[in-house]
């Protein structure tokens, strides 16, 4: 009965996680010491979420096996991947992590990309809130039958 609301809330969770990842990227825009690998500090790598439709629930698979039409239920974050683009090199010989030529490896976070993603995530979140309210008001309206 509440599956409509569950679909929407899965999307709200996913979009919120997306926003959290964007926050993490922006917060670590200058973090040159994210990991310590083989005696060297490695800068932060930009992270991205991978979204996929949720569909492995028992009910969905059963309906599929019975050739019944089924609405898959919601969306989920399948994993968080790292952006493999190269680090930015900044000339700053005074920096403790500078190499012998005076260059520092900075995280591959692009503030522009992050801002665009943030707006996109916010808008998607808002759209889902609208759907949530619509579904809720429909359920409430159904209680009016026979009044």
């Amino acid at each position: 009965m509440f599956s409509g609301l569950n679909i929407t809330s899965s999307a709200l969770t996913a979009q919120r996680l997306r926003m959290d990842v964007i926050s993490s990227n922006v917060a670590n825009i200058d973090s040159t010491r994210a990991e310590y690998v083989n005696g060297n500090w490695v800068p932060y790598r930009r992270k991205m979420v991978v979204l996929e439709p949720k569909g492995e629930q028992f009910s969905t698979l059963l309906n599929k096996a019975m050739n019944k039409d089924t609405v898959t239920s919601g969306v989920k974050v399948s994993r968080i991947v790292e952006d493999e683009t190269p680090y930015k090199l900044v000339f700053n010989p005074e920096h403790p992590d500078a190499n012998e030529n005076g260059y520092v490896q900075m995280p591959n976070v692009d503030p522009l990309k992050e801002m665009v993603d943030l707006i996109s995530a916010t808008r998607s979140y808002e759209a889902n809130v609208t759907v949530f309210n619509a579904s809720k008001s429909m359920l409430v309206k159904a209680l009016d039958i026979g009044k």
């Binding site: 679909i7 899965s10 609405v71 898959t72 969306v75 759209a127 889902n128």
Partner: protein, 133 residues
């Protein structure tokens, strides 16, 4: 005597359709950022029947007497289809948010109208039962 004429069961089916439609719209909007997700759509039975009639092979009723009139199988309810050939943005996603929002508003009004009618029907019955008092 049949108190509950067809009206209630028809309205009931319409409510089912509207609920499924709401679910599909939720699903589409939930997956608005999912790469390669294709938008789904609910077709009312009328449309499905029309499509099926075009390739009539599917529709063969058991005819045991040559005076029988062929009829479609009375499978009611709705069918969800996936719009596969549409790409709305570069990630392979085919959800058009504006369209979905419009459908959402439309579906809400439709649902409210159905609830209103079903309540009206019950009210009529009540009025009859009470003898107009």
């Amino acid at each position: 005597m049949k108190i509950f004429s067809n009206t209630i069961s028809i309205l009931d089916q319409a409510l089912d359709y509207s609920t499924t439609k709401q679910k599909v719209i939720s699903q589409n909007i939930a997956n608005v950022d999912t790469p390669n997700y294709k938008a789904q759509e609910v077709l009312p039975f009328k449309t499905v029947l029309k499509n099926e009639l075009k390739n009539t092979k599917h529709l063969s009723a058991q005819i045991t007497n040559n005076k029988h009139i062929p009829f479609p199988p009375s499978e009611n309810g709705t069918v969800t289809i996936v719009k596969n050939n549409i790409q709305y943005n570069e990630s392979g996603n085919s959800v058009d948010v504006d369209q979905e929002m419009t459908k959402l508003a439309e579906n809400q009004i439709y649902y409210n109208a159905l609830i209103d009618r079903i309540s009206g029907k019950f009210q009529t019955l009540q009025s009859v039962i009470k003898g107009g008092k």
